[in-house]
């Protein structure tokens, strides 16, 4: 039996799948690559937001530097595709391996502190990394790297290539979907329960005989991998990477997305990303100052609905469910 909240989340998941499919169909019918690329980008940044939400919404750790791992994945994937071989599985494989290692090392630095200090240390780490990449000639410095080759990817649907916006959308949907499934699976394991326990009361965990360090580290590494794999898709979509991907605005945007979509739901961030990306492009056609609108929405949401859109929907659906 599903409780009303789980039912509501299931509802939202179907809604999301439905709306992204509509976008996909509309894009294909119109033959308009713009919408398809936009939808793909929304999914990619949705993956980044999902990693922020795993830390913030599930474990209760606010990371202000998740763009570091997103950018790491993007740069590594661009390097592999350009220098070694234009192979999707090779790029993703290397990114998964290296980001696991990076996340493991970074977790030792970041998890020494809690609360606000954790937020600030992740912020600091990302600033160091962004400045280093920005100043490194061999990584293209401030210009970034261009000329990432087009890939052919073997999938159950046949050979798909990244140059076709429609098929690359499917590849992205499958990849982000796989990341979502992995995280969802983790939440059903005892590890997932420990994460929730850390969020509600970390200190009390010790009294019931659990250490919080291990589960937090696993969550941190997982979040790193999710961010890095999402980042790895970016150069395949755009054909380039730039140091802007690691800047604070990207991390900040991911946090905005999570809060907009709903903290602690995993699917909310993706929904938030789809909304925010489309919204930005709509407002972008009216005015160059879309930040002011997004900032205002953000302020209003933090004040009026701290649980975000998914929270509002859950509340609505949850009430409906309990009346049945």
């Amino acid at each position: 039996m599903l409780n009303p909240q789980a039912k509501a989340i299931r509802c939202i998941e179907w809604l999301l799948l439905f709306s992204s499919l509509i976008l996909f169909v509309v894009g294909t019918v119109l033959g308009d690559t713009f919408f398809l690329r936009l939808a793909t980008e929304a999914l990619i940044f949705g993956g980044l937001a999902m990693s922020v939400d795993l830390l913030l919404g599930i474990v209760g750790l606010l990371s202000l530097g998740q763009a570091l791992y997103f950018g790491f994945g993007a740069y590594l994937s661009a390097l592999v595709l350009k220098q070694i071989a234009p192979s999707f599985s090779l790029a993703i494989g290397i990114v998964v391996l290296c980001s696991t290692l990076l996340g493991w090392v970074a977790s030792f630095i970041a998890l020494r502190s809690k609360g606000v200090y954790f937020a600030l240390i992740t912020f600091g780490l990302a600033q160091v990394a962004a400045k280093v990449v920005y100043n490194t000639r061999s990584l293209g410095a401030s210009d970034g790297m261009m000329g990432v080759p087009i890939l052919s990817i073997w999938t159950p649907f046949g050979l798909l290539d990244t140059a076709n916006p429609g098929t690359f959308f499917i590849i992205t949907l499958l990849t982000i979907g796989a990341l979502y499934a992995v995280l969802k699976y983790f939440l059903t394991t005892p590890m997932g329960s420990l994460w929730h326990a850390i969020r509600s009361n970390e200190d009390r965990l010790a009294y019931v005989g659990f250490k919080s360090k291990g589960p937090k580290q696993v969550a941190f590494v997982l979040a790193t991998v999710v961010a890095a794999v999402s980042g790895a898709l970016y150069p395949m979509l755009r054909g380039f990477v730039s140091p802007e991907l690691m800047f604070f605005s990207v991390s900040g945007n991911a946090v905005v997305t999570v809060v907009l979509g709903g903290v602690g739901t995993l699917i909310g961030p993706i929904m938030g990303s789809v909304l925010l990306t489309s919204f930005k492009s709509i407002i972008g056609t009216w005015t160059a100052h879309h930040h002011i609108v997004i900032g205002l929405i953000f302020v209003v949401i933090v004040i009026s609905a701290p649980k975000g859109l998914a929270g509002l929907l859950t509340k609505y659906f949850g009430k409906g469910g309990s009346n049945e």
């Binding site: 630095i109 606000v116 780490l125 280093v132 100043n135 809060v259 900032g295 302020v299 933090v302 004040i303």
Partner: protein, 294 residues
């Protein structure tokens, strides 16, 4: 040896000091707001930019720079007061207050920054220095304005310290930070104290903006670059500690300006942030404890 000290190190040290006092002014505001309200003010840099922009506009209207030094902070106090009352106090009672206020001020920063672009345009504005010329000090020439900045800043920092630790007003503020419930039962209007302190911190940031406008150009994203340095100072010094902010401010700006003699200036920012990360790793609460622990 002596010559290199005189002609190479002294100018760098003096330059570092003049930036240092401005950074400390910013950091003081940040650290007071955190020490008292437990709020990480992500929009602090935008209030620094506000100070710079308002002073540029006032000067264009013919008001002298010296008057701006008084008018701008006075203009910013009601703005800061209103923001605390209307926005921050709305989420102040939630359990996730740290995170919510951080996110709220982050959203506010986005709005303000774009607002500046609309009002003043995206192009940098460069106001002229209110004091021209240079004087000789230890046989080296220094721009007079930078010397003024150092002196004025040092006096201000001392005044803020006196205000917090040596006056009755400061005692009220510290009491409100130490124990909210006890202070309010003693008749201190705690919520008003909070709003006023936030406004005071914001006014300090604005003042730093007025002071630095003649050295750097004024542009909408100026707060974003500067806030990173101010944050590092506050973190290294210890969130909520005034002494820590002053010492860390001097240390980090000297590190930045002296390191640029040996490494390319583009690497001095990563160096400062690395120091910040190292401090956070080994002493997460910074060099000195918070204002509450004092």
């Amino acid at each position: 040896m002596l010559e290199s000290l005189q002609y190479i190190y002294t100018p760098q040290i003096v330059n570092g000091l003049s930036i240092g006092v401005a950074v400390i002014l910013m950091a003081l505001g940040l650290t007071i707001i955190f020490g008292l309200l437990d709020v990480i003010n992500m929009s602090h840099g935008e209030f620094y930019a506000a100070g710079a922009f308002i002073s540029v506009s006032l000067m264009a209207m013919g008001i002298s720079f010296w008057l701006c030094l008084f008018i701008v902070p006075i203009l910013l106090i009601p703005i800061g007061f209103a923001m605390e009352r209307l926005l921050i106090q709305k989420v102040f009672h939630y359990k996730d207050r740290h995170i919510l206020t951080l996110l709220l001020t982050f959203g506010l920063a986005m709005v303000l920054e774009d607002g500046y672009k609309i009002i003043w345009g995206a192009n940098p504005i460069k106001p002229s220095a209110p004091i021209s010329g240079a004087s000789e000090l230890l046989g080296v020439m220094f721009p007079n304005y930078r010397l003024f900045l150092m002196g004025f800043g040092a006096v201000l920092i001392f005044a803020v310290w006196m205000l917090i630790y040596k006056t009755q007003l400061g005692a009220i503020v510290r009491a409100a930070a130490y124990d909210k419930d006890m202070s309010s039962s003693l008749g201190i209007p705690v919520m008003r104290v909070y709003a006023l302190t936030f406004a005071f911190g914001v006014a300090l940031a604005g003042l730093a903006g007025v002071l630095l406008a003649p050295i750097y150009s004024v542009f909408p994203t100026m707060g974003r670059d500067f806030i990173l340095l101010a944050f590092s100072v506050v973190i290294v010094g210890g969130l909520g500690s005034i002494k820590g902010a002053v010492i860390a401010g001097l240390l980090l700006t000297q590190l930045q300006s002296l390191s640029s003699l040996y490494i390319s200036p583009v690497w001095s920012d990563p160096l400062v942030f690395t120091v910040m990360v190292l401090v956070l790793m080994f002493k997460p609460s910074g060099l000195y404890g918070g204002m509450k622990n004092a």
